[in-house]
Assembly symmetry: C2
Amino acid sequence: MAYGGFRELTPVDEAVDRARALVRHRPPIVEVPVGDALGRYVAEDVVAPFDIPPFNRSVVDGYAVRSRDTFGASPSNPIVLKVKGFVGVGETPAYGVGEGEAVEVSTGAPLPPGADAVVMYEKARRIGDVIEVLEPVPPLGNVSRVGEDVRRGEVVVRRGTRLMPWDVAVLASLGFKRVRVYDVRVAVACIGGELVELDSVDDVESLFKRGFIVNSNRYSMEGLLRYHGFTPVYMGIVRDDVEAIRAVLEEALEKYDAVITTGGASVGRIDYTVEAARSLNPELLVHGILMRPGRANSLAVVRGKPVFMLSGFPVASIMGFEALVKPILLHMVGAGEEPKPRIKGILTRRVTTPVNTRSYVRVKVYTREGRVFVEPLALTGSGILSTLIKGNGILIVPENREGFDEGEEVEVVLLRSPASIEP
Amino acid sequence: MAYGGFRELTPVDEAVDRARALVRHRPPIVEVPVGDALGRYVAEDVVAPFDIPPFNRSVVDGYAVRSRDTFGASPSNPIVLKVKGFVGVGETPAYGVGEGEAVEVSTGAPLPPGADAVVMYEKARRIGDVIEVLEPVPPLGNVSRVGEDVRRGEVVVRRGTRLMPWDVAVLASLGFKRVRVYDVRVAVACIGGELVELDSVDDVESLFKRGFIVNSNRYSMEGLLRYHGFTPVYMGIVRDDVEAIRAVLEEALEKYDAVITTGGASVGRIDYTVEAARSLNPELLVHGILMRPGRANSLAVVRGKPVFMLSGFPVASIMGFEALVKPILLHMVGAGEEPKPRIKGILTRRVTTPVNTRSYVRVKVYTREGRVFVEPLALTGSGILSTLIKGNGILIVPENREGFDEGEEVEVVLLRSPASIEP
């Protein structure tokens, strides 16, 4: 297939699947304090070291009994049991419970041997050292069984889980002070003679007028990596030169787990980055993807590690991260995609997209009079920053469609909650 | 209304609304490097300092012309224009374009005075120092107008926006090296004589047997705060003692922007924390919320700052964070709720919840043969950790329902993507 200067473009899923099959590198594992593990990916299954509860325990304040001793009890026909003593929380029972006997227990206390249920205070009448049981209690009534909550040996957090606040709390509850997580370091190199680092700019407007731009892709790529729990390592701006790019790729592949480049891989001029990757004898080289924006996005696998060569256009590289980088990095840590917020709404304007291409249309979602509307923003041209600012959602048009009609109901991935625009 | 030991319980929305109306404190603002601003809340509107593009510029390689000079051009009737020179990217045009004239321009170059459109190379034939234009170009054809992308003075990031990777990239593009964000520090104090810090535990199983537990609420609260872009400040474990709690609240209110306590506020025993808050002459004291789990959650506003007194039960305090803490902290920074991933599925078992109460039922969402199922996990009892481990969603039952029937379609907030369970 000849298409816009590329010999052959590859569908998104095919590119991802082929790369996944060839990425053999496993990121290093580090052990971190559990309090620092939020948002990181667990490197191996974590197994419960003991049962919770660690013994049969009472879930009420009352009297531990043999349940069968209480059968037939009623207010008019109470059953009398002898109270042998008391067991509090954290105490080891000094008494067993035999026929006709009871032991007073507090909530959380272990059941004495022989007892299999607890009669609540409210269901008994205390008279000196005996109680009158007013109601029967079934076996295991008011008892939390050993291992009922968590069983020893049970997997509590699986490899590849991204640790959320409640996972960290569960690990702490079980006494894990440290946890083994993946340490995924991803090199970021930005290619292009027109790029200037933000820190070295005094007057951005005059910079623009002189044909230069701030290297903003550094910030989007670093931010996306951090947002998803990976560690960016910034390699700087590289000039449009195959040898210079090759040197950076070599260094990055030597030291880190994956590489992202932006720029240097566009239509209509020399694809410096792709040439540099090709010179490294890649196991896979996918040059151009059937996605829009981001047709110039490419990827390679070199020495078992992924190399993502993304477009220099801000939106195209962000979509390339979503479509290519994220699924492959998640695969490297054994994780699945996290669920995304989605919303359905009425398209306010026809969207036309190229066939066989997965299109990511930035949209503005809003509600008016209780209905949800989806307004497509400019797909191409100069809306480079404004669609990022004004959009709050992405309409993904699959390969087998050429767009959606005005008035059609579409489902959108929401980046921010829709604003309510009342007329 | 008398209910389970509380004099009066307050509906979730009413508690939040009353607190929002009384929280007058504004968190301090700090200026941070734009590269460190990911996930933070912007403290004031950010306005574009200049137009993008900063001038009318060509979006193709070709010839800048007066569009009306090209009207009527065709391959059989080409219009001849004189080429006066060349303007590249970053150059200031040395030539104007008069009638019958053209100036060669490269992509991104500014339009020379007089020109209002660009003829692409492909639509002209160059012969020495003239061109034959083969096709007319409309006014502004192949031109990106000044301010078309971003207009000077336009708000590019609004106060209260939580900065996502693309926002950071936009700020960098516009030359913002630093950005003013809220610095919200929230004190976390955990109340209860049964609590032990993870770091000081050697044998958690024996700790459990002795009636103590690891203070895991510290980790869930710190994690939830960080996850939502706020800074936790841990104040330690506090014993069940009104004076001790009051001293911690005083210190926290003096130094920080909000306070969260866990424990010390339960049914059936003295509500130490609520008593301590009451002694501080609060502007608002809501004791007990119509939510489940989390009926014991309470909140106060003291000196314009919110004090969240959450249950000591892990799940109840996590739900209390979701229902009470998050909306009020977001309000303090001018932010709205972020969208949540949701999914619809068939309920596998009847769920019964108390009326007039907002219930948060932990569920396990899974797919089988392409259909989505929602399995409720234990609501109460000993499933304290396991519902956190096994659940991947929350079914919120609103106040006006008493549950849902088996087989009913329900919508669930997804915490993790559902597993596929194939038979």
